[in-house]
């Protein structure tokens, strides 16, 4: 379990009695880019059917966690399990097979710019199924209808607003009815209306399709409205965790600083440096 969790909620203790185990589980995972450590002993659990958010400041290693879950990176130590399978131990074929159970929403959508909205959503269907064009058309329109963009099927990605592009990317992420959907900063750079729309879509699609969602974000306000459980990551470690209500009521100094958006606290305002007076007086003899 987390290094210093403020509370271990019943949410993570398999309240539905599901014997299949968690959808995603990280156990004591450490990872470094070259010699720069990014994650240090991360342990977390994402139960099936739940929305779990990973929160933290920019560059704290949130996206790295998603890449480890997706098998794009391998941990230096520790275990990463998805649906009971150890992701780092899978060979290329098995990993690609597992990824068919994933959907991923990238920070800026990552739509294929040379394809229309329709073609973008049809892409995974055409790659992985032998469905007829008629059936693919119907499925694409159903996915687009779910995100409210059926009328935008013929548009190109360059013609979409940021919020629309994110919704199209969401429709593409659920194109093959995945088991797990990972969201990398789904709220970044959106206007308040689009932000609310994306938040509600994540919740509704999660519940309607019975998928499991892992949301990496630093948007506290929107996340607290939709997620079942949150992990706070700072300097590569989980420093707090809990349900939305537990987070709101938390006395943990890091959680207070993050939720309150305070400029100084456990996460210092100043980047580490030598004492101010000493640096200013360096040239004074």
């Amino acid at each position: 379990m987390p290094d210093a969790p403020s509370a271990v909620s019943h949410v993570l203790q398999n309240p539905t009695g599901d014997r299949r185990g968690p959808a995603v589980e990280l156990i004591d995972v450490s990872f470094a880019y070259d010699v720069r450590p990014v994650l240090r002993g991360i342990t977390m659990r994402v139960p099936r059917g739940k929305i779990v958010a990973i929160m933290g400041g920019s560059g704290c290693g949130k996206t790295t966690i998603l890449r480890l879950i997706g098998g794009q990176l391998k941990p230096d130590s520790g275990k990463v399990f998805v649906a009971g399978q150890s992701v780092p131990d899978l060979d290329a074929d098995a990993l690609y097979h597992l990824r068919r159970k994933f959907g991923m929403l990238f920070q800026f959508g990552a739509l294929f710019t040379d394809m229309s909205v329709f073609e973008n959503i049809a892409f995974p269907m055409r790659e992985h199924t032998d469905l007829s064009e008629e059936l693919i058309r119907d499925l694409v329109l159903m996915k687009l209808h779910a995100v409210g963009l059926r009328g935008a099927a013929s548009l190109m990605p360059a013609e979409l607003s940021g919020g629309m592009a994110r919704r199209v990317a969401l429709a593409r992420a659920i194109a093959l009815d995945p088991m797990v959907v990972m969201y990398d900063e789904p709220f970044a750079g959106l206007d308040p209306i689009s932000l609310g729309v994306i938040g509600q879509l994540i919740r509704k699609l999660n519940d309607a399709l019975g998928i499991t969602s892992v949301v990496v974000t630093h948007d506290v306000y929107e996340s607290l409205k939709i997620v079942d459980y949150l992990y706070f990551v700072s300097e590569g470690k989980i420093v707090a965790s809990g349900t939305a209500d537990e987070v709101r009521a938390s006395a943990d100094s890091y959680v207070r600083q993050f939720v309150g958006g305070e400029p100084d606290g456990p996460v210092p305002f100043h980047y580490p440096a030598q004492p101010y007076a000493k640096e200013l007086l360096t040239h004074v003899r």
């Binding site: 097979h97 991923m104 990552a110 294929f112 710019t113 790659e127």
Partner: protein, 270 residues
């Protein structure tokens, strides 16, 4: 003072060593990349429309620059060749001069250089931007291998396009030479074509030109897709990769041309 010099020397040696090992490492990575692309090529060919699309973008859209350049090169070659041949009373040999220069040398080389500048840079920029905007990562997460879906079709599209473009470059160059030599200067049309027919052999002249253009096509296509795939996912990274494609491809074409010409001449002389 002495210590500073030694320190500077050591630093210089470290940088040199780093550059050499870095270069060797990148060469090894590029070789592995080539094998991976070849490994995934059957998948690309099974969906031939992907490769045909790249032939259109790399080849068909390069036609204007290739044909116009070929025409102008042939015209200049004809003017310059006529001036020289006239001194020796061999001006009726103009056809053979233009044809041999284009088919053996200028066609493959200039078409290769133009292809690297126009299509190679575009391939690198497109792949680099796909990487920067996480489109390649998105593909991987959808269990679609970008090497099979994006890289291999562009690689083969380039390999198929360049030899055809080089052939068209030579053909239009000969046509340009004909316009200037026969229509403007007034060389006899029968002599122009007849000398060419008698003096240019399919083997080795045309064949050597084809071999050169195929080798250039492999080099330029590999450099273009590799630089795009290996680019840093930033605006600066893509621009650097695009520049590298043009520079490395151009140098590779000229160096390979020299090496192949040496072997081809040796083969013809023995």
């Amino acid at each position: 003072m002495y210590g500073e010099v030694l320190g500077g020397l050591a630093h210089g040696l470290r940088r040199l060593g780093g550059a050499v090992t870095g270069g060797i490492s990148k060469l090894g990575y590029a070789s592995r990349f080539l094998f991976a692309v070849l490994w995934h090529s059957p998948q690309a060919f099974r969906r031939i429309q992907l490769t045909l699309r790249e032939i259109y973008f790399a080849g068909v859209l390069s036609l204007v620059i290739i044909l116009m350049s070929g025409m102008f090169v042939g015209m200049v070659l004809s003017l310059q060749g006529y001036e020289t041949l006239k001194r020796y009373g061999a001006d009726e040999q103009l056809g053979i001069l233009v044809a041999l220069a284009l088919v053996r040398e200028l066609g493959p080389v200039i078409a290769g250089l133009l292809f690297a500048s126009r299509a190679g840079s575009a391939i690198t920029a497109e792949i680099g931007l796909m990487k920067t905007t996480e489109q390649l990562a998105a593909m991987e997460m959808m269990a679609v291998d970008p090497l099979a879906r994006v890289i291999a079709p562009r690689f083969w599209g380039g390999i198929i396009s360049l030899p055809l473009l080089a052939a068209l470059f030579s053909a239009f160059g000969i046509f340009g030479g004909y316009i200037v030599g026969v229509r403007l200067i007034g060389i006899d049309s029968g002599a122009f074509w007849g000398q060419m027919q008698a003096g240019v052999d399919f083997w080795p002249d045309v064949t050597n030109g084809i071999i050169k253009s195929v080798v250039f096509a492999v080099a330029v296509s590999l450099i273009a897709v590799f630089e795009g795939y290996d680019s840093k996912p930033t605006a600066e990274g893509v621009s650097t990769a695009t520049t590298r494609t043009v520079v490395i491809s151009s140098l590779a074409i000229l160096a390979l041309d020299f090496v192949m010409t040496v072997f081809m001449f040796r083969g013809a002389g023995t």
